[in-house]
Chain length 290, copies 4
């Protein structure tokens, strides 16, 4: 088991805003301040969904560049840009990647029903087919490869992992692969330590992987990932709450808690430099990319 | 491990036709003759996609009724109607279920990218988002429940299995559940004994399940299913070839091979009556349904 | 997953003594002081190997009674007596159980080579056949059943777990069972989260189980157990060191660290009363037993 | 998954004799005739426990040599000599290995309680501690290495597999390793496809492995092994009966049934030459060894 653990912070998502949690950043300065707090507490990577000053989510490349520059000025975290969206043309979802070349680009690796079930209401309160056919994945990978951006392979179920065999065979993916296993979406893989272990077993040997848990189940999945040799992700995109139930006052508080758990199992948070080495991101490229 | 094994034969699909395999039935009489061969060799259930006399796949309720009646006149197999289709309105996909009440109705339990990759061409040669949101699953279950039809829960990945928890909580599914684990579709769960074991572990205790393998990997998955306590499916819909590589001259030849494998592990093919008992299908209902 | 976690502290073993770790208790008063610290920090059970005032391990029933009484006067922890030993006649290993009826009695469930390998010396530095044939297990269970003592089923490998099927069939074990999975002994099951998950899957449904990890691997196994729904054990018998590498100054420090990890995954330490309820130990019996 | 399957036949054991099964060979000529039948039906390896003409099991080197020579004259099967015994000095258990250098030598990799439970009698009818400390394993490996004999690593539980890590580190074992997973002994690993999959997962990458099932559960475990990519063993040492319940009239009948199952999953029996290549046994050595 690797000693160093890459802690990623998903600093903000697209669904929730400041009405739900006051610490969600809108301006580049706010992103940078949150990123700095994450870095200070042990994070190595920050995952970014851009927003306008009024909090509206956006895919405007110039906005991604402003946020990236503000974060880079504040701390040396590796920067990961989102590409996932529903109902937005593919070209729009990828321009910020090709123009502004983050270290890492997130990439959804397959389709599923993305649903939410309410036990109280006895009904599905969200029920969307999240469509990611291979032609879109191929297009995104070609774009990332051309830009020298490392793909983060987001997998909601086991078929999303085994589909990488074809993409390796096509030469669009090159080892070592970096996986994110998202657990707990109704319609996708269930949130349990056993399910996480199964995903991890099916990644090609030599891959790195992290767990992405949604809402309160996140912390127990982080314990599972740490015990299985994986990396972890926290952040206000995934979950506002500390294990005891209090809302976090910043992304930094969530990272601090993750770092305590990393140390509790005898492992250590990786620095951004160590994370770059693990993920196979070249340092030269990192500077050239800016 | 249950001694009796339910052998299902998927007598014909929608993709291949007689140009690929001469034994695929088109007319009700041909369906009946194939079904009889399956019954004679040890099958308990026949899974039906209807076709017109010229071989064109169809969802016409009257055609389903003709095929059902022809089969029922020839042998006492339990009859399972398909409901899966792409690009056909839901009402059309279900009218044959509500009007003609088969013993069992097949039901796709989630969404995935349904793809096919060619190593030779280094390209995806088929790449479809197979969309099955929960609102459609709920509609199909309500229809089946009203008609007294047992749902066969077709699962292409792990989220399709865990999604049953919500449907059980809503009261739309009632134990014992009957699962089919389809393995080997690119974009869905991989075809391996370990993947099959994982699906089986995640079905609620007391469920029955079978494996559905595609093409040449089918036979090794049948060995895996038999060793794990599961049921099996063969038939020209899934695979034309016997283990040695010869094309089957009838569905009956495929069933005979499956039955030999059942007996080789010390288990026995279930009769249609035994299968009805295992699946919780009432005998009264079976007669009433016709 | 059960919310409450039973934390057991193995307050002292038989191999190490105060030359290795100053906090190991010898006198009944020292046992009681250590037990009280454990209780204050969140433990529910204390596992006891008796020692004489000079630190020599012993199986003298009167000594066990003195230690038990001292602990009971200090705090309401459930008390678990060891029965495992090499080279000591069975009658001697069990007299303290039948005479002084602890709440719980530890019971080794099978045989293995109990070895220790030194990578540095390229040699086995310890190599013992730890023999626990079923006739001895049967004798110990009959004694515990007659005394109303709950058996803690100590399993070093998978066969030790599946052997319980015969003992259940004989009526010597009665559900719910309580397992301890010891990992990391060379010759027994390896210390990994995947091995722990496998042991847990093979326990009969409704069983409780804890992990017992040896030396520095203990903490990561505790994270694994917490994520899999299990209970945990710490204590100077198993490991002297906190995750950061400092030697613990008391059993209480080890329990405090375990309790922090319990809360980090959103679970809570069980009180001794809650633990008794989970384990099926009657409260009346507990008082009567003293 | 490897296409070729090594079928081993354990031609005779030490416990049963001709009163239980008439086909058990005693004389070298009978061994040779049985071995030839196995070879003709698809076996690649024969596992030998020697007997005297009156059927008494023995470890006499000269007798092993006679049997080996008779078999070698009849067919080109690879020859595997037993080394396992209870109550016989180590030197005696190994002289036939060092003096007569079979291709393969069987080696028990750990200790366990080796028991048999009778549900009918509600009692253990056999209850032995099968002691194989590492000092004996080290001695046997040194002997086999000096003689150029390939060790077959017989594992009754998971610790027997993970113990190979130390022996690899000592240089006593060299990849590729060849494992036998014995399932179904009370006190050792349970006979199920899931347990077999777990053992296989824990063997070092690149190892070959076979399943050894005891009595009637053998055939279903063979189906499991074939589906998991493993090799198989049959033979009168393990089981007298064909899947339908008839007693085999020869080892050849058991091999023929195994070969049918191999072909039913689309795999092929390996020839002795192919088996030697898979196991890393040199052809020169094979001739030199005689």
């Amino acid at each position: 088991m690797r000693d160093k653990v890459i802690i990623t912070d998903a600093i903000s998502g697209v669904l929730a805003d400041r009405r739900q949690c006051r610490a969600i950043p809108y301006t580049p300065e706010e992103y940078a301040a949150e990123a700095k707090r994450c870095y200070d507490e042990g994070a190595a990577v920050v995952h970014v969904h851009a927003r306008e000053d009024d909090g509206a989510p956006c895919f405007r490349p110039a906005r991604y560049a402003e946020i990236r520059d503000a974060i880079a000025a504040a701390c040396p975290l590796l920067i990961n840009f989102s590409t996932g969206a529903v109902g937005i043309p593919m070209e729009e979802r990828v321009a910020h990647i090709s123009e502004h070349r983050p270290h890492i680009g997130a990439l959804n690796m397959g389709s599923l029903t993305y649903a939410k079930y309410s036990e109280r209401r006895k009904a599905f309160v969200f029920d969307l087919v999240f469509a990611n056919p291979y032609k879109e994945i191929v297009f995104l990978l070609e774009t990332m490869n051309a830009a020298g951006v490392k793909p983060e392979l987001e997998c909601f179920d086991s078929g999303h992992v085994s589909g990488t065999e074809a993409l390796l065979d096509m030469g669009l993916l090159r080892p070592p692969l970096d996986f994110s296993f998202i657990l707990g979406v109704t319609g996708g893989m269930k949130a349990s330590a056993r399910h996480l272990a199964f995903q991890a077993e099916n990644a090609p040997a030599g891959s790195s992987w992290k767990v992405i848990g949604i809402s309160k189940e996140q912390w127990v999945l982080i314990a599972a990932a740490l015990s299985l040799g994986g990396d972890v992700r926290v952040g206000l995109e995934d979950n506002f709450y500390l294990p005891g139930g209090e809302m976090a006052r910043s992304n930094g508080e969530l990272v601090a808690q993750a770092a305590r758990m990393v140390r509790a199992v005898g492992r250590e948070p990786a620095t951004p430099e160590e994370a770059a080495r693990i993920l196979g991101i070249e340092v030269n490229r990192r500077e050239g990319g800016r």
